[in-house]
């Protein structure tokens, strides 16, 4: 039982405070899962690639004596490897000791860069994108947004997740959203359980795809990435995924300019949609969407097997 939420503004430009809106929605969904909170938000594209990565798990900091020097070594290795492949690091920021945000200029093969950097022990790339900012950490929405300073984030659309860990551990590796490696700007959040995860994971791994965790939701991100790699558009890939995935699920996908939702054929997991003229908001429960309004709103539940995609 996780909580998912998404929001997309259609005509408002890029200066809507979606950081605050997402935090309000995710905080209202805290009762659906307090283990970790994640955001994937889309803002200004300044021409640089934004790389978000972590060099350790939050729990690692307490368990080991030499972790701090190991973290420094890993960061140094990331810098060297990026520069080796010709990426120019323009800006470095970090909210915590283990999570970092780089802005890079790079024109080469993104998959090669991602693989080369992730080859360093303990390093995981959370996202690469031009406008995507993907943040996930342990704790509720108020804690994570405070830690990463998300409440003044402006953009056009975003998706988010509050997690109740059922299928894998409570750590950042298994937290949502998942970046659809190696496609820049594609991210996924999911609420449910996938029962054909291992079968499909093996098939996709044989094709050369990467899985960074044991969390079943990662399958959706990798599948969408695989389909988009073969040239299908987001809506077709999502429609096919309803047949491909077995189990109960509702998930949201976001790309540079789109936001999509899909529901399983049993309609077993909740989703409530508000469709206004300027804005579309989706959440597992209406209580989350209601935090954005001070008046009564009209909302509906999508039906079984339904796929919807909205364009920014």
């Amino acid at each position: 039982m996780c909580g998912i939420a998404g929001i997309i503004h259609k005509n408002a430009g890029k200066d809507v405070n979606i950081g605050e809106q997402m935090t309000a929605m995710l905080q209202a969904l805290k009762h659906r899962g307090p283990d970790s909170t994640g955001y994937a938000m889309y803002g200004e594209d300044n021409g640089n690639h934004v790389v978000r990565f972590k060099v350790a798990e939050a729990a690692d900091l307490e368990g080991s004596f030499d972790i701090h020097s190991a973290i420094e070594d890993r960061i140094a290795a990331v810098n060297t490897r990026m520069e080796d492949l010709g990426a120019k690091i323009v800006k470095k920021e970090s909210a915590t000791e283990y999570s970092h945000r780089y802005e890079i200029q790079f024109s080469g093969d993104m998959k090669k860069l991602a693989d080369f950097v992730e080859d360093i022990e303990g390093v995981e790339i959370l996202s690469i994108g031009n406008s995507l900012e993907l943040i996930k950490d342990l704790g509720d929405a108020a804690e994570v947004s405070e830690q990463y300073g998300l409440n003044d984030f402006n953009g056009t659309h975003g998706i988010g997740h509050t997690r109740m860990a059922t299928e894998s551990d409570v750590d950042i590796r298994s937290a949502h959203p998942y970046w659809a490696y190696p496609f820049s700007d594609v991210s996924v959040v999911h609420n449910g359980q996938l029962t054909n995860y291992w079968t499909n994971r093996r098939a996709l791994e044989l094709k050369g795809h990467r899985f960074s965790s044991n969390c079943d939701s990662e399958l959706i991100a990798v599948y969408i990435a695989d389909r988009m790699n073969q040239g299908s558009d987001l809506e077709t890939a999502m429609k096919d995924s309803v047949e491909y995935l077995d189990g109960v699920f509702t998930y949201l996908v976001a790309t540079r300019d789109q936001l999509g939702m899909a529901k399983d054929v049993m309609a077993a997991k909740p989703m409530v949609v508000y469709e206004g003229d300027d804005m579309i908001a989706l959440a597992s429960e209406e209580v989350a969407i209601r935090t954005l309004f001070d008046h009564r709103i009209e909302t509906f539940d999508p039906y079984h097997g339904e796929v919807k995609v909205w364009q920014n």
Partner: protein, 280 residues
């Protein structure tokens, strides 16, 4: 051998000699007043009204406030700003006119027996779950498992509802103005469901008994759900029931299709005792 300490367990009646009597049933005593009243039900006066502003209240506080007002004998309660909270308006066991001026979340008005509820917004999942009697009227849409396991009363949604409407329905009437999702009437056992719009896949799957009327298209029927024949009585019933809530079938009640259980799954009594043994 040491003597076992007996007194406490004997007092609790856990020993054979006390259990041997004709019955263990406690007999009704006219002196105990709770034997003559319904637990947590209040005598209210519908000419007295009160309003609760629930903007900053938790669901528990809202439910306690409703109870406190009922204890004072107020029979007309309006709740403003319920803010789609879950589990609000539950466990009311007496007559009451209750109005919510906005939407409710999950399990709204569950476990009720008697009140007339009007919700001017929408409801989330499992609205009026296990309702025994009374009416619940919703102006907006509703989520999934609408009226799960209801036993009586009228549950009316003027908009569309989600999946598994009336799952395990054991009585009463569910009326839906718009569409319903998949698995409506799943394992229904008794009662009636009136769907004025379209119905999703697997309508009436594994229904034991009861009746479903559909005004629109049916995506497909579930296992052992078969079309039934509309009778004069059905048409009269539908006309009057829908009239009570100011609703109309889009093509007229005569055009509605009735669905009932085919009873082909009713084979649990046809077995010989030793066949039964084999299965069990």
């Amino acid at each position: 051998m040491a003597k076992l300490k007996q007194d406490k367990s004997h007092e609790m009646g856990l020993h054979e000699e006390q259990l041997k009597g004709r019955t263990q049933q406690r007999f009704f005593s006219i002196d105990e007043s709770e034997n003559l009243t319904y637990f947590h039900s209040f005598d209210v006066d519908t000419s007295k009204s009160a309003t609760i502003d629930a903007l900053d209240m938790t669901p528990r506080e809202i439910n306690r406030e409703i109870r406190a007002l009922m204890e004072k004998g107020i029979g007309n309660i309006t709740v403003d700003n319920p803010m789609s909270r879950h589990g609000v308006g539950v466990g009311i066991l007496n007559r009451l006119n209750l109005t919510f001026s906005d939407s409710l979340g999950y399990f709204g008005c569950g476990l009720i027996d008697g009140p007339n509820v009007h919700i001017k917004g929408r409801v989330g999942w499992s609205c009026a779950e296990n309702m025994m009697a009374g009416t619940v009227v919703i102006d907006g849409n509703a989520g999934s498992t609408f009226g799960a396991a209801i036993r009586g009363g009228d549950l009316v949604c003027k908009g569309s509802v989600g999946a598994r409407t009336g799952i395990d329905q054991k009585g009463g009437t569910i009326i839906v103005g718009g569409k319903t999702g998949a698995f409506s009437g799943f394992m229904m056992q008794r009662g009636r469901m009136i769907i004025l719009g379209d119905a999703g896949m697997n309508l009436g799957d594994s229904m034991y008994d009861g009746t479903i009327y559909v005004g629109g298209e049916v995506e497909d029927l579930g296992v052992d759900c078969v079309p039934g024949e509309m009778t004069e009585l059905d048409i009269r019933y539908l006309t009057e029931k829908l009239g009570n809530y100011g609703m109309k079938a889009p093509n007229g009640v005569e055009k509605m299709q009735k669905y009932v259980s085919g009873k082909t799954l009713w084979n649990y009594d046809n077995l010989e005792p030793n066949e039964k043994k084999l299965i069990l």
